[in-house]
């Protein structure tokens, strides 16, 4: 038997790098509560290919985590409800699958890394047990074999003295080590796709970089697709291939990472980039996007961003913009670049 961690990708049914892995099409999710219906996701489209990293960027309440939970099938329903859309995983619509089919995909084909490892790991079970559980449930290994695998995994994510620490409990590890355990758990069965929901937000800055590097390295090694959900533009730049910016449950801009940084095509992205502190602007007042994130119970008519946009016109207040293909000054399509702004040309070229 080959161990799960050997790079025996050929033996496994692995997608070839570059082939589409996951495609979210026109996804709508809402929450029905006492206070009304909160439209959390309003027509999201994005895709990830094997070996590719998609960064989903957005503030709190932009719907980036809800989308991820819907893909994972861990959305609480009720109050959550998927009103329309498709989630294609290697060509098959997961929303049409049975509960049992979806369960077999979770953890095995698509795995997730959560933000707060301390609360996301079960406090009363040893990390060895929680890691080994993946092998016991999905591969039917014995307790002993599973523990050996758990130690191997902990070694793989560079937790020192793995064999001694395998029986420790989550609270006995540092924040960075705990997040490594979360990563190890996600990697356990070499999934095709990993969704990392703010994996470094809860960590110290120095540890953040280590964890991100580890994640990027392992992703490259196993040719996994990675969806990196974050609100931190700084995290994205080094690791992502492309970026989708979300606002009020919609994608407002997608672009290859460097194009987006160099020249945003949506006023919201522009605002986000301007609000990053920079050393060369020392002493100047930091830019902040005015207003508050949208109330999902009452998304503004027209473009959801219009109340906070400096360039908003009457058109923006009445008509919701489509996700336009972005072109350069000569009208040639820019690959992978789209913007949901009526005035993307002005924003991009103006």
């Amino acid at each position: 038997m080959t161990t799960a961690l050997e790079k025996t990708t050929a033996a496994k049914d692995r997608p070839v790098p570059g082939t589409p892995l996951l495609e979210v099409r026109d996804l709508h999710v809402e929450f029905k509560t006492r206070d009304g219906v909160a439209k959390a996701v309003n027509g999201v489209n994005y895709s990830v290919a094997a070996g590719e990293t998609l960064a989903v960027l957005g503030e709190s309440g932009s719907g980036k985590s809800v989308t991820a939970q819907t893909i994972m099938g861990i959305l609480d329903m009720p109050p959550g409800r998927i009103t329309s859309g498709e989630i294609l995983f290697r060509g098959q619509d997961m929303l049409k699958m049975s509960g049992e089919e979806r369960r077999k995909i979770r953890g095995r084909k698509i795995a997730m890394i959560f933000q707060d490892a301390l609360s996301s790991l079960n406090p009363v079970l040893s990390v060895g047990y929680q890691l080994g559980e993946m092998f016991r449930v999905h591969q039917g290994l014995s307790k002993k074999e599973a523990k050996a695998k758990a130690i191997e995994l902990m070694d793989r994510v560079r937790i020192p003295a793995a064999a001694q620490r395998v029986n420790d409990y989550p609270h006995q590890f540092s924040g960075g080590m705990r997040q490594r355990i979360m990563i190890a758990m996600a990697l356990a069965l070499e999934p095709d796709l990993i969704i990392a929901d703010e994996p470094t937000t809860a960590l110290d800055v120095t540890v953040q970089a280590q964890v991100m590097d580890l994640l990027a390295e392992l992703q490259a090694e196993y040719h996994m697709g990675l969806i990196l959900i974050t609100h931190d533009l700084g995290v994205v730049a080094d690791v992502a291939d492309k970026i989708a910016v979300m606002y009020a449950g919609r994608i407002v801009e997608t672009a290859p990472v460097h194009d987006l940084y160099a020249n945003p095509a949506h006023p919201y992205t522009e605002g986000l980039l301007r609000s990053i502190p920079r050393l060369d602007q020392k002493g100047e007042e930091l830019y902040a996007i005015k207003g508050l994130p949208p109330n999902l119970y009452k998304v503004p008519a027209g473009c959801a961003f219009n109340p906070r946009c400096d360039a908003a016109t009457d058109l923006c207040r009445t008509e919701s913009p489509a996700l336009h293909q972005v072109t350069d000054r000569d009208g040639a399509e820019l690959a992978g670049r789209k913007s949901a702004c009526h005035f993307w040309k002005e924003t991009l070229h103006g």
Binding site: T33, R34, S60, S62, T201, H231
Partner: protein, 316 residues
């Protein structure tokens, strides 16, 4: 429900409840104290409203039973004989719920029985809260050997089962009144309050505003009663309200066992005891005092539940 939304969205994405919070804050411009806040919260709970109505009614029974019946509860009316069946058409008359084994009106005894229960419940709760609360505060505030002595003594008394200890104490009284029962239950019941208060005070004592008050030179009494007490009292109130119903049930049980209240005091427990001997012929003689007792205990437990939810949302 907002807490469900919180569940679906991970920590980083809780914009929905946050916005609801800001909207609610905008509405309530006046800053509200914790107590006032709890009161506003309570009024909207059906559980609280129902239990409050029941308790007001019970207290009325206890204060002025003659408002509800003109029949003497102690008079064995020979014309009505032994175990006359209830006449449900005669509202508020002596025979509405029938007559007991000694020809006394069950309805009148039901009304008059409220006094013993209400007095025992309220006095015992007040007694244990003051006694236990004070000891708990002293132990928690001073710590060290004071805490050790108080805590060990609390452990010693805590080890004595309430019902058993009360039986032993009450057996020493030749004539037992409501006050002997109150005495026995306070002597044995304060330990729970001490433990709750002590824990609460220790938590509050470490907070910054207490340190600040000390730094500003506030005296011990002022710190204890002005700064610590108001912030430490909530769990004690919650436990006390819930315990109140339990004390009423304990009094009835003691009276039922014949070592609680005695004639001529009217207690549902005594009536339950005498009704058990005639349970086959006259189940109604058991039903009404037992039902009344259950409703009373229920009302106080419901009140306790509502108060707990209002004062401490975490416990919900």
């Amino acid at each position: 429900m907002p807490d469900m939304i919180e569940k679906t969205a991970p920590a980083g994405e809780n914009a929905i409840p946050a916005q609801r919070g800001t909207a609610a804050e905008a509405k309530a411009e006046k800053p509200r104290s914790l107590g006032l806040d709890a009161w506003h919260d309570l009024r909207k709970r059906p559980v609280f409203v129902i239990s409050a109505v029941l308790i007001v009614l019970l207290v009325l029974f206890a204060i002025a039973p003659s408002l509800f019946t003109s029949v003497d509860p102690r008079a064995g009316d020979l014309r009505n004989h032994y175990l006359t069946k209830p006449n449900y058409l005669h509202f508020f008359q002596g025979d509405w719920f029938g007559y007991d084994g000694q020809g006394r009106s069950i309805y009148a005894r039901m009304i008059y029985g409220a006094r013993a229960s209400v007095v025992v419940g309220i006095c015992v709760t007040a007694g244990v809260t003051v006694l236990g609360g004070l000891l708990g505060m002293i132990a928690g505030y001073y710590g060290g050997w004071v805490d050790t002595i108080v805590s060990r003594f609390t452990d010693m008394v805590f080890g004595i089962p309430l019902l058993l200890g009360a039986l032993v104490i009450l057996n020493a009284f030749q004539v037992r009144t409501v006050w002997s029962v109150v005495f026995a239950l306070v002597v044995l019941g304060w330990t729970q309050m001490t433990r709750v208060m002590r824990g609460s005070v220790i938590t509050v004592k470490q907070s910054d505003y207490v340190t600040a008050a000390k730094a500003l030179g506030a005296g011990t009494g002022r710190i204890m009663f002005k700064h610590i007490l108001p912030n430490a009292i909530a769990p004690v109130i919650v436990v006390a309200t819930i315990a109140l119903g339990g004390y009423i049930a304990t009094e009835a049980t003691l009276s039922f066992l014949g070592i609680g209240l005695q004639d001529p005091t009217i207690s549902w427990g005594i009536d339950i005891n005498s009704a058990q001997k005639v349970i086959r012929q006259a189940p109604f003689a058991l039903f009404f005092p037992a039902g009344m007792l259950s409703v009373t205990v229920l009302a106080f437990i419901m009140l306790g539940d509502a108060v707990r939810d209002a004062l401490d949302p975490k416990l919900r």
